[in-house]
Symmetry: C4
Subunit: 248 residues, 4 copies
């Protein structure tokens, strides 16, 4: 079987696994589960991990220049390996963005907007979950409920940073750094998209003169064609004249 065909088959199951993982992880963290329910949630999480692991191994087996695929898919490896560090396995959910990518419109800018809005929402939600999971039981932690965690995530990604809540564990801070980078990227993409739009709109005003130039070139082309015709027609007459003259 070709790798391309496998990837086509695996696409939706992987997306489904990511959604199931997100649901199970959300229930486990928000509900602060313990006892048999925690065991079920953990089992589901490990099952989705198995799906991703299987996909990674199959891809590695099918890839034609195997070493090249390995080198260019380090992120895929991280998604499979990092679940050992529980909250980071949420990276896996980035595959969810494929769905957004699929449903987004055709124009580049609207696709960028949908993608970024989706990524930011997912990033805020996942970071809130992961930080809560990491902080909840730490001594001196302030982020101990899910609403506070969501609030903290919004305050961080917008780079406002009130400081009413801030992580105290190393893992929580690592996730926070990721969220801050997400915030910088978010601001960058919003600004860049707006800049592109304004630059284009301003350029539209210039376009008239440009289309005028194009119009002139077309007119020029037509003129030359007419000239060509004008040159060909009489010449035919002239030739016959010359022939007549030659005959005489």
């Amino acid at each position: 079987m070709k790798q391309a065909r496998w990837q086509k088959i695996a696409d939706w199951p992987l997306t489904l696994a990511a959604i199931v993982f997100l649901a199970a992880y959300s229930f486990e963290v928000i509900g602060d589960l313990d006892g048999p329910r925690a065991t079920v949630a953990e089992a589901v999480i490990w099952a989705t991990w198995a799906v991703f692991l299987a996909d990674y191994i199959i891809n590695l087996v099918l890839a034609q220049p195997r070493w090249f695929w390995f080198r260019t898919h380090i992120l895929d490896l991280l998604i499979v390996v990092l679940p050992m560090l529980r909250p980071l396995r949420l990276l896996r959910l980035l595959t969810l963005l494929n769905v957004l990518h699929r449903t987004a419109g055709a124009a580049l800018r609207s696709r960028v907007i949908v993608y970024v809005a989706g990524a930011a929402t997912l990033l805020v939600f996942l970071s809130a979950l992961a930080v809560l999971d990491s902080e909840r039981s730490a001594p001196g932690a302030t982020i101990v409920t899910f609403p506070d965690s969501m609030w903290w995530a919004f305050v961080t990604i917008s780079t406002v940073g009130y400081g009413d809540f801030s992580p105290v564990t190393d893992l929580g801070r690592l996730i926070a750094v990721g969220l801050m980078l997400g915030g910088i990227a978010l601001l960058g993409v919003v600004t860049a998209t707006l800049a592109s739009w304004i630059v284009e709109r301003v350029a539209k005003q210039e376009e008239d003169s440009q289309s005028a130039t194009r119009g002139e070139i077309k007119a020029l082309s037509r003129q030359i064609a007419q000239l060509h015709e004008a040159l060909d027609r009489p010449r035919a007459g002239e030739d016959s004249d010359a022939v007549t003259a030659g005959r005489r």
Copy 2:
């Protein structure tokens, strides 16, 4: 009656209703009214709501492909429905921006600046009102006076976020998230407008060579026209010659 005509008629009454609402809501929240004066303010607020509800229903009735209009005007629905959550009905005031839009100059960039400055000012003022309304009576809240609320709103929209004041209620935090998004958008628009201006100014220097190109094309066009003429004139003489020659 056509929907377009209705919208033309309804435009100013809706703007007026929004202004009246803003005034009534400001008095109610800043003055921390109670007794008969609160009842009057509430009555005025509900009256403006009735205006917006009537407009929405009439639009829905008049809209030709009704379902299409419904789907593409979810925001209008939210503006009518959300007043149930009191502070959020301030969204209605976004129609105020139509006034700004009307008075703004012709050039795109100056219109963007006026629109954004107006939207930011309105957003800060409305968020300050709504957060104060939501926080004032909450236990442990720090935002309990209007000056502090305005200060908090400025600190938030600029993404500075000192943390000397921050909302503690869920509704207050929801409004804060909206204000943060507004701050990101504000920063984006300011940057994008400046970028567009600088890019254009730098491009102006390049324009000389471009206008030179256009000049060359025009010169070219003139040359061909002359060529055409030159070709037509002697040919006419030649034709008469040929005729003369043929006659002889």
Copy 3:
């Protein structure tokens, strides 16, 4: 006397008055002067104010369509009137930027950078002075020394906003809002200048193909000129032929 000539004469004295004002105000605020030294500093500040007032009145007298000049120079009026609110009269120092403008290089982007760096530095220094002046004697204020005030100004203009220091007086907060707007503008200008530079550099790579197009147009022009010549030359011979033929 023409207004233009007056403005040329008044330019340097005004700049000097702004510098003297800055020095006197700095000494007064940083040194927390009292007694005769405070009186001297105050006298100098009022003297510089007189210079600005005189300039404003003379401009108003000389301006040809007086009402038009008044309407388009509201900022000049504010600079003269606002000194009543002591810290805000620092706005006057924006004329200092003329010096920077004068010494800056020719290229737009380097001029923008010098102007913005100068404006940001001035804004931070003046805000630190004004906030210190306003906060120092307020109950519960944290900004009570000049180093703390400078630190606070940097933390604010960069939109970092730790919250270790924040103004508590209304005037201090008003100045802080100005500083935040300055921070947003600073970030916007830095980004826009960088964006312009990167866009230009990327466009340079595209320029080759564009200059190729220009080259083609020139080649075209040359071809047509040759065609014109080729058309003119033989036709002259042809005409003489026709004459010869006609003569025969």
Copy 4:
């Protein structure tokens, strides 16, 4: 010896000295060394300083218009002189970026990204070291461990600024201002690079019509060439006709 040749020879030793300095300084600060180990670290730091000093002196001797070189290399002087203020001598490490510059790809944007990511990482790490070194022994300081210092540096460069940690010493605050400026630059570069990418991608869509224009010009050029040929060919026949006619 020419200065250019010296700089080629000195490049790698200087880079090596910078790396050795970074390692020694890291060990000294993070390990909070004292006794003989601190002496060794200090000795290594002074040795790397000697390398930079020697390079500066040799450059000054070899430089042809010596005064010009001195004026245009103030930063080199600062790197040599400032080590007296221990943490600031880290500026020296900016030469490390030459390595990144060397290994980066060819395309402008990817080079900008690699350079900025490298510079930001170095800036965060060095600021964390320098602030820790400066704050550790200050009364009332909160930044007293390396993990806290790294966390503070990330919170600052992203302009989030929770305020859970903030420097209290003048030197620590000076470094913090540098880090904030780095954060503004980082945000600017990320946004500018994204804007350039989006503008280019949007422009790609416009390119079709532009290449169409170019195609038209080429077609035009071909038409004229054919016209030229058509004009030359029959005229040759005509000339021979005329000759024939003349001969008869």
